[in-house]
Amino acid sequence: MRAFEFIFRRILTAIFVLIGVSLITFSISHVVPTDTAALYLGSTRARPADLERIRIKLGLDRPLPVQYAIYMKDLVHGDLGDSIATKRPVLQELTDRLSATLELLFFGMFIATLIGVPLGVLSARWQSTWADVFVRIISIVGVSMPAFYLGLLMQIAFFRNLDLFPLSGRVDSNLRFTNPIDPVTSFFLLDTFLTSNWIALKDVFHHLVLPGFTLAAYPIGLIARMNRAAMLEVLGQDYIRTARAYGIRERVITYLYALKNAISPTLTVIGLTVAYALTGTFFVEVIFNWPGLGLFTVRSLLALDYPAIMGMTLLGASGYVLINLIVDLLQMWVDPRIRLK
C-alpha cells in the first residue's frame, strides 16, 4: 500500500520537474540567436519569401508564450514535433536511436557492475595490502580519466596498434550484405542471438567492447570505491565479529553476510550512474561514431534544432526521474529498514 502511495507521489513530483525542464529548455533554445527557417530550408542562402513562408509554417512568427503553449499541447498528445534538420518526427528520431544507446549503456553498466563490485569487495577484504592499493589506483584512474580521452586511447591501442577491435560504429558495413541483422528488438546482441546469426553476433560484440569499456571506466571506479567503503563499514560491525567467533569461514562471511548488507548504498550509486551514463554516452558515441541519441543530440545542439533538443532534454530528464524511482524501489526491496520507515 505504502509503496503505491510512494510511487504516486513521486510521479506527481516528476511531472512538475519535467514541466520545469521543458520551460527552461524552451526559453533558452528560443532566446539563442539562430535562423531556424534557414536551417529548415537547408541553406543560409534561401530566398526571403521562402524563409517567411517557413517561419509562418513553423509558427515562429508568434509570441514565445504562444509557441510554448502549442508545444505543450502537442506534447500532451504525444507529439514532440518534427526535427528542423531531418524533418522527421522527433519521437521517431529518438526511438530509432534509443536502442543503440541503451544497448551500449546496459553493456557498459553490466561491465561496470561485474568489475566494480568485486573490486570493492577485494579491496575491503585485503585492506591496506597491495591489492587494495591497486584497486584504489584503478578506481581513481577510472573516475578521473575523461571519456573522450580514454576512448581515443582505446582506439589507438586496440584498433590501431593491436587491431583487436573495430574503430567505430555499431556493426561492420559489410555485414548488411553478408549476414544482415533482423531487427526484432533493435538490441543487436539480442537480435543476432535470437536469430542464431552467430557471425553478426560476434561482430556486434566486437563493436561493443571498446565503447562499452570506455563508458564503464567511470562507473567502475565509482562502484569500486563505494562498495569498498560500504564493505569496510559492514565488516567492522559486531555481527561480523560474532560470525567470525563462530568460526564461519571468511569467504562465507564476506560474500554471504557482509556483501548483502553493503550492497544497498552501492545500488544507489549504480542507479545514479546509469542516469549519469545515459548522457555520459554522448562523448563515447561521438568518438566511436555510435548511432545513438548522443550523436543525434550533439548534431541537434550544433544546429540549434530546438524540437530535437527539447525532445532529448525531456527524455533525459524522464530517464533520470525514472531511474531514481527504480533505485528507491529496489532499495526498499533489498533493505527492509527503508520499507518500515
Partner: protein, 542 residues
C-alpha cells in the same frame, strides 16, 4: 571465486596498461603504422557484392534535389543528373553531354534548344523527356534553393518528346547554368507531385533521378547505402562498385583512422595537420587543388572613416595575408585576387592584390587625415567557422600597429547577415566565407557581394559605384553572347573593385584529397567542389 576475482581485476589492469603503452608507442610509431595501411580488398568478404566504403564529413541537409543548396551536393550527383556536365578547367571540351545529347543556341542568343537522350528512365520507371525537364526547371524556379540561377529564363517550352527549348528574356549562358551543381537536376515528375502533396516527401532519401546509383537506405547520422541503378543509360562494366556505403563520420581524426585501418576505402577531409604522414606514405597520393571557396571581408562604406577609399586601402595593406593563410588554413590557401576564387571563371591575376605593408598603410592613413589611426572598428565573424575564429585576432593585432582598435564579435551567420543589413548601424567589418552557386563567379560572387542594390542581401559593403554596376551589367549581358569579351569586362570591374577596396580579399582555400593507390579513377573537378567522389568512375586497382 577468490581466484576468479583476481583474474578479473588483473584483466582490467592489463587493459589499462595496454592502452597506456599503446598511446606512448603511437607517438614514435605512427609513420610505421600508416605504411602498412591495409587495403579494403584484403578484408573483403568471401560472399557479397563489391562494396566501396567512404567516410564522409558532408552533412545531408536535404535529399530534395530541387531545394538542395548545401553540402548534400557530395552525394546527390551520383543519383541525379543534369542536362550537361561542365568539365574541369583546361579540358579540350567545356561540356560533356549527359541527359542532353546535343544543344544549340539561336542567332539572337535568346533561345537554347536541347535534344534529349532517348530511352532514359527515372529510377521510378517514369520516362525522362521534355515534359520532365520542363517540370523540373519550373519547380526549381518556383521553390528551388538556388532557383535564382534561371532568372533569365522566361519559359521552358516542350517542342516534342525529346526536344526542349529555353526561351530567355536576355542572353545568358544557359549551357553553363544547366550544368550547375545546384538547381539543375532533372527529377521525375512523380517526385515533384509527391513533394507538392507532402513537404516532408524527401525526408527518407528516396531516389527519383536518372543517375548511376540509387539510395538503397538512409540512416540519419549513420550511413547512406547506394546501390547500382542496373538500368543506367551509360551501361556498366566489370570492376565498378555494386554498392557504396557512405558512413557519416563528423570527427576528422576518426575518418583518418578509418582510412588508415581499412574500415574505409576513401575518406573526405582529413585533418590538415596530419597530411604530412600521408605525403610520405607511398600507398597514398595527396592532391592539393584550387577550390571554389574564398574568405573575404566587407567594409561598411556607410560608416566613417570607412567611407574614405584611402582608409580602406590603408586597412587592406595592414592585413598579414600569409599569416592568415598559415593560421586559418594550415598554409593550404593562396592570397585572393579579388572575390573570384582562383581558377573559377572569370578569375584573372591582372586585377591586382594588396601586399602586407604596414608603412604604406600608415602613410595612407596620414594622407586621409587619420595620422596614427585613432579610430575603432567593430568586426564580426561566423561563430561556427573555425578558420575565421583562428585568424580574426591576427587582423586585430595588425590593425593595432597602425593605431586602429578592433573589437571582435562572433555571431551566427544569420545574425551576422541581419546586423549587416542594418545599414549605417551595421558592423564596420564582416568576415565571410563565400562560394558561387555554379561555375560562374561573375554572375554570382561579383553580383551577390558587390553589386549595389537599394536593399542589401549579401552586398553588405553598401559600396555604391555606378561605374562598377555598369561594367557588371555589360559583362553579364555579354556572357550570353561572347564569353571572352564578357570576361574582359568582368576583369575591368574587379580591377576597379580591388582599387576601391570595399572589401578585403584574404585567401582562396585549397581542396585536399588523400587518395589510396588501391582506388583508381579519381579525378578532381574544380567546377563541382562538393562532389568529391564520382562513384561511377571509381574502380578498385588490380
Amino acid at each position: 571465486m577468490k581466484r576468479n576475482l583476481f583474474v578479473l581485476s588483473l584483466l582490467v589492469v592489463l587493459a589499462l596498461l595496454v592502452t597506456a603503452c599503446g598511446s606512448a608507442a603511437t607517438a614514435t610509431q605512427a609513420p610505421v603504422a600508416s605504411t602498412e595501411a591495409p587495403v579494403a580488398a584484403t578484408e573483403a568478404p568471401a560472399a557479397g557484392p563489391v562494396v566501396l566504403k567512404i567516410a564522409y564529413s558532408s552533412t545531408i541537409d536535404t535529399w530534395d534535389p530541387i531545394a538542395s543548396f548545401s553540402t548534400e551536393a557530395a552525394y546527390l550527383p551520383n543519383v541525379y543528373e543534369t542536362l550537361l556536365k561542365i568539365n574541369k578547367p583546361g579540358s579540350a571540351e567545356t561540356y560533356t553531354p549527359v541527359l542532353a545529347e546535343s544543344w544549340s543556341v539561336s542567332d539572337d542568343y535568346l533561345s537554347y534548344t536541347f535534344n534529349l537522350r532517348s530511352g532514359v528512365n527515372f529510377h521510378d520507371g517514369e520516362p525522362m523527356n521534355a515534359a520532365a525537364v520542363k517540370a523540373s526547371i519550373d519547380a526549381v524556379k518556383d521553390h528551388g534553393g538556388a532557383g535564382f540561377i534561371w532568372w533569365s529564363v522566361d519559359n521552358v517550352e516542350v517542342v516534342d518528346d525529346l526536344t526542349v527549348k529555353f526561351n530567355l528574356s536576355t542572353p545568358q549562358p544557359i549551357d553553363l547554368i544547366a550544368s550547375s551543381m545546384y538547381a539543375a537536376y532533372i527529377v521525375s515528375p512523380k517526385a515533384l507531385e509527391g513533394f507538392a502533396a507532402d513537404e516532408n516527401f524527401w525526408a527518407d532519401g528516396t531516389s527519383y533521378g536518372t543517375g548511376p546509383y540509387m539510395v538503397e537506405s538512409y540512416t540519419p547520422d549513420v550511413e547512406v547505402v547506394f546501390t547500382q541503378n542496373t538500368e543506367y543509360w551509360g551501361g556498366w562494366e566489370a570492376g565498378q562498385y555494386e554498392k557504396v556505403v557512405a558512413s557519416l563520420v563528423p570527427e576528422a581524426t576518426t575518418r583518418q583512422q578509418m582510412l588508415e585501418g581499412g574500415e574505409a576505402d576513401l575518406a573526405e577531409r582529413l585533418p590538415n595537420e596530419n597530411l604530412g604522414a600521408f605525403e610520405s606514405d607511398p600507398n597514398y597520393t595527396v592532391m592539393k587543388e584550387p577550390s571554389f571557396f574564398n574568405y573575404m571581408a566587407y567594409f561598411n562604406t556607410l560608416r566613417a572613416p570607412l567611407d574614405d577609399v584611402k582608409v580602406r586601402q590603408a586597412l587592406s595593406y595592414a592585413i598579414p595575408y600569409q599569416d592568415i593563410i598559415n593560421i586559418g588554413a594550415s598554409g593550404l590557401g593562396t592570397q585572393s585576387f579579388g572575390p573570384v576564387p582562383a581558377g573559377v571563371y572569370p578569375w584573372d591575376d591582372s586585377v591586382g592584390q594588396y601586399t602586407y605593408d604596414i608603412e604604406k598603410a600608415k602613410a595612407l592613413l596620414t594622407e586621409a587625415g587619420h595620422e596614427g589611426g585613432g579610430f575603432s572598428i567593430r568586426m564580426t565573424y561566423t561563430a561556427s567557422n573555425a578558420s575565421e575564429e583562428a585568424f580574426a585576432p591576427l587582423i586585430k593585432d595588425s590593425f593595432a600597429q597602425i593605431g586602429v582598435d578592433v573589437t571582435i564579435e562572433a555571431l551566427s551567420l544569420g545574425e551576422q547577415l541581419k546586423l549587416g543589413r542594418s545599414g549605417a548601424d551595421a558592423q564596420d567589418m564582416t568576415l565571410m566565407l563565400y562560394w558561387p552557386a555554379y561555375a560562374d563567379a561573375g554572375a554570382d560572387n561579383l553580383w551577390s557581394l558587390f553589386y549595389y542594390t537599394e536593399k542589401p542581401s549579401w552586398n553588405l559593403s553598401y559600396w555604391n559605384s555606378p561605374e562598377y554596376n555598369a561594367l557588371w551589367d555589360e559583362a553579364s549581358a555579354l556572357s550570353g553572347t561572347d564569353f571572352a569579351a564578357s570576361k574582359d569586362k568582368y576583369v575591368e570591374a574587379v580591377t576597379l573593385l580591388v582599387e576601391e577596396a570595399p572589401g578585403v580579399f584574404f585567401y582562396d582555400t585549397m581542396a585536399v584529397y588523400v587518395i589510396p593507390n588501391a582506388i583508381t579513377g579519381f579525378e578532381y573537378n574544380l567546377n563541382y567542389p562538393f562532389w568529391h567522389f564520382d562513384y561511377y568512375n571509381l574502380r578498385a586497382a588490380k
